[in-house]
Symmetry: C2
Subunit: 210 residues, 2 copies
Amino acid sequence: MDKNFLKILFPVLEDDLYDEMVQHGTIKKVKAGDTILKVGQTIRSTMLILEGLVKLYREDDQGKEFFIYHLDAGDACSLSMVCAAKHETSEVLAKALTDATILSIPLEFMEQWMSKYKSWYQFVITSYRNRFEELLQTIDAIAFSNMDERLESYIEKQVSRLGNHLKITHQDIATDLNSSREVISRLLKKMEAKGWVVIHRNAIEWTKKH
Amino acid sequence: MDKNFLKILFPVLEDDLYDEMVQHGTIKKVKAGDTILKVGQTIRSTMLILEGLVKLYREDDQGKEFFIYHLDAGDACSLSMVCAAKHETSEVLAKALTDATILSIPLEFMEQWMSKYKSWYQFVITSYRNRFEELLQTIDAIAFSNMDERLESYIEKQVSRLGNHLKITHQDIATDLNSSREVISRLLKKMEAKGWVVIHRNAIEWTKKH
DNA sequence: TTTTCTTTGTGACAAATATCACTGTACATT
DNA sequence: AATGTACAGTGATATTTGTCACAAAGAAAA
């Protein structure tokens, strides 16, 4: 792993910290679709996303998966940080949406760096805040919005990361939003009528200007 | 403020840290019903709850308030910690449900103690994890459960903190759950028929055994 | 090319929840 | 005691979302 690569991805850290990251971190490569973290799995390291896009889900008792947020390159899995620090188990399910590279850092360094590097402390705190904010936005969506608005903001989230042309089926979307395919199909039809989207087979193209 | 009182409420901290808390913290007393933190308010200090019960809400653009979780005595407002560390504004609304005492700690100490006291680091991390977990449970409730189950778990949350006899109106509950009074009244009637609850005016009595 | 499978479209219907309109009832105030 | 007000009960109806059944359209496989 290259130190300069880390510097670009995580631009605010102290120089010595990059060296430690290179020295103590382990690279993990995962393929698109792979599960990175299962609910109930014990967490022994903190994960930083170096490449790719990861989706986090909450699972109910019947195994239904509810999408909560994305992690991009340069993001840390806050939950892995919180859990790691207490040797606890995961409360979420993480899946790689694209091929991804993950830097795994044993939990003892998490704690050590926290007092040693101010920049690490700042990074962790910022990371928490961002994730917390996203959770709150997820709550907003399901608490205050109807399915049409939720679908719209869902698509816009994907588009902002993957571009206008999304390779996704109606069923996929329905699963992420804990809805049903028919509902999503109908709502997409309405959006198509408004000119927001072009529906293809296995894909949609977002044409709405924000 | 008494050091021993802090020791009982926050049992795991280092001795010097209690002294610092006494020295640098400010006590704030608030009355039941008071707003402690508004959405958009800049956060300049970390808040620890010494006495009382605080409710956290998420607000939508029309000012509708959606209850997310409680803070009890001995809890820290994690959001105030995250926000404080970045001089940012609040994303939630906090209200005192009962008269409450709050220990307010200027943000510079938050950072300082983080590297100085391992116990503080642990406390903050645990605090985050607990709050994160509660947020996830809130998401579970609205994503996976119908109103009857949500109402039940809502009542049980209140009961666990305030006892079986809750002084609350149907409208209050409806507001917290972003539902309507009629729906709550009807569901409570059904629960009463099942012997889970006794409905009084301005109050309900939870009689369900768990 | 024919067959099969996956994805999408759509009408009909069911369920959950929200809204409206109105009634009754307990409590406080005068 | 009369009155006003907040709270609670309830039927009727609307809206949103979910479910079922089946058709149509593409893509893939035989």
